[in-house]
Symmetry: C2
């Protein structure tokens, strides 16, 4: 059993179009907030980012961001797993602390997606799919998810209206989140009538494009007790599992089996099950991603997520409450940063100082992050002590 690790600080920027800020400025804003929150400076850094190589022409993000933040000569890594980079970076930071190599590590997820033509961003996002067997044949990332959504709706008899409840709830939840990109109430009818992106995926099934950065500081027990919040929020379980990048090699398109495996490991390590989770931030790049995640995490049986959701499950007040932040759909999805936003938000939920929609007296929280169509999946479970 690895040594205990705690989240001792969290910070984030508003997700949006930050025309006046680059990668380094965004990262610095989140970092400064996390250090202020923790009251300690981290010994090392892990940067989560997907697109800087494609969009900013910049590699070596670990060194670049660490040295810009005054963390020169310290250990710094850059972890990439497409839209799942954030969760993978938290997993990595966990091991750096649990191994005893470093007393504390800040994870900074950062992505700069605006200021570029949409076609360029779409092409860069497609690098999450298989270059040789999917993108080469003209598939966009949305098109691949549309295959999954169509199959899911047909196989389980799920209506457009039932699916639409997800984005409606996400926009509702985001209304009070000061860091959310979208602050706008929507209806099921607005979802159904919004522009087709890749049939049956509509614009309002899709997470927006935005810039943002989030930071969390992980620390050993010895270091945590020196921090402002003390050893309050423990990383109780972590799981990471991968699958084929190309969909054609999967056995089924109506499930994300790697996420089920990542969850199994994280639950087992934490000694918890789906029924113990009070609040979760799950990966909803598209509405279908949320449905398949809910089922892989054990919050609903196969084919039942959308139906239960439409009947009121997972809404504020329910256990688990899902995505009080508004999720990728409305908080926003600065791809490489998303998994770090989730952990930052849940840390605040467990401490009781989350500035948006609060889940009262939450004790166990779960973050699930996905790269590609379920090719890299992570589950991080936090527990209030």
């Amino acid at each position: 059993m690895p040594a205990r690790v705690y989240v001792v600080g969290a910070g984030m920027t508003k997700v949006g179009r930050h025309f006046d800020k680059g990668l380094v400025e965004l990262a610095a804003e989140a970092y400064d907030a996390a250090v202020e929150d923790a009251g300690i400076e981290p010994a090392g850094i892990v940067v989560a980012n997907m697109m800087a190589g494609s969009l900013q022409g910049q590699d070596s993000l670990g060194a670049l961001i660490a040295s810009s933040l005054g963390l020169r000569y310290r250990p710094a890594l850059h972890v990439e797993a497409a839209c799942g980079s954030g969760g993978a970076a938290v997993y990595t930071a966990y091991s750096l602390v649990a191994s005893g190599l470093l007393p504390s590590v800040v994870v900074i997820g950062v992505e700069k997606m605006t200021d570029y033509p949409t076609a360029i961003v779409t092409e860069a996002l497609a690098q999450a799919a298989d270059a040789d067997y999917e993108v080469f044949y003209g598939a966009s990332f949305a098109a691949l998810n549309a295959l999954m959504m169509r199959l899911y709706m047909r196989r389980y008899g799920v209506s457009r209206d039932e699916m639409s409840e997800w984005p409606v709830m996400m926009h509702e939840n985001a209304l009070s989140n000061p860091y959310a990109q979208l602050h706008k109430r929507i209806t099921r009818r607005m979802v159904a009538e919004s522009q087709v992106v890749a049939d049956p995926i509509r614009l309002l099934d899709s997470s927006p494009i935005g810039d943002g950065a989030a930071a969390v500081i992980l620390a050993s027990e010895e270091e945590a007790v020196r921090s402002k919040w003390g050893a309050t929020v423990e990383v109780a379980g972590v799981g990471l599992a991968v699958d084929t990048v190309e969909l054609s090699n999967r056995e089924a398109l109506d499930e994300v089996p790697a996420l089920g495996e990542a969850a199994r490991r994280a639950y087992s390590m934490a000694g918890l099950g789906p029924g113990d989770i009070d609040v979760a931030e799950i990966h909803d790049a598209f509405t279908i991603t949320a449905m398949l995640s809910i089922e892989a995490l054990g919050f609903a049986g196969k084919g039942e997520a959308a139906k239960q959701l439409a009947r009121g499950r997972f809404h504020p007040g329910d256990k688990p409450t899902l995505n009080p932040s508004g999720g990728l759909k409305a908080r926003g999805h600065p791809v490489g940063a998303t998994g770090v936003y989730q952990v930052a938000e849940l840390t605040m939920q467990l401490r009781g100082d989350y500035p948006g929609l609060r889940v009262e007296d939450a004790r166990n929280a779960l973050a699930s992050n996905i790269g590609g169509d379920g090719s890299t999946t992570t589950v991080i479970i936090l527990r209030r002590r």
Copy 2:
């Protein structure tokens, strides 16, 4: 003190122009050799790669390569630190095993650089420099290293002929390495008369462009004793330190201070000093990189590396023997894979089964890998038990 970690298997492909192989095929060749060597299958995987995003349009390399190798549903990460990705990935894998998260992890460094126009590859390599403050102004990666070489030679009165001894020794050492890209004896005069790349850097001061993959399997003590080689080669120390990516923010251009810091940490963890090292594989992307590395690692005083080398130090038979593989200069430099090649070669040196130039009865070995002009630096120390 972290738990003990061992290298239990190593494998590599010949570095060269593999027109018939892509990223996955190269990775598989190295992986199969490492698993055969170890006699155990790894529980997780860390992929080191710099350029797949730029050249192959492919992210999520952890998931892609893991699932192609039959490691579906296991944990897989992709770590990027430009030309220092390999060392950073070994550092990461070390922490995954030392933390108790995973009993064993394979690190696969892989890079596919040929099959592309030189201008495209040069542009992709420039992502190791600072996009905003260097590349934007027209600096190539070689041009930045040329500034360092010119200053070093002038400040310490080092002649062209003294510098040239490095590539001459590298080409000599590589002659018996079956995995080396270049098998060709050269002379000091050939170096001095070779084409100017960026004055004073000549073609024969520069590592070649090539494809390749290397793999090492790290394991806990419990797992190591189950492997073919047992708990023979221990990872005695690891150090990672970063510096600013852009040279203009450094205090000096004739040193790589981050590498000195990484070495200090690795030596301290291993309880060893520079005088204890029998054999080292150091990062010689250019001749000047080797000289500054030798000095940062404590094998020579400041400004003395080239002079000592020209007098016969560091050649086969000396302690330490440097780069018996032929180094980046002649073994080749498939950028993201290089740091993994080094650890694979040194593992075989310590076991006594290295197929190239052997350092007899070596007990302590050191690998030093660099990303950019010293922005990400790692030192890995191996010890035969």
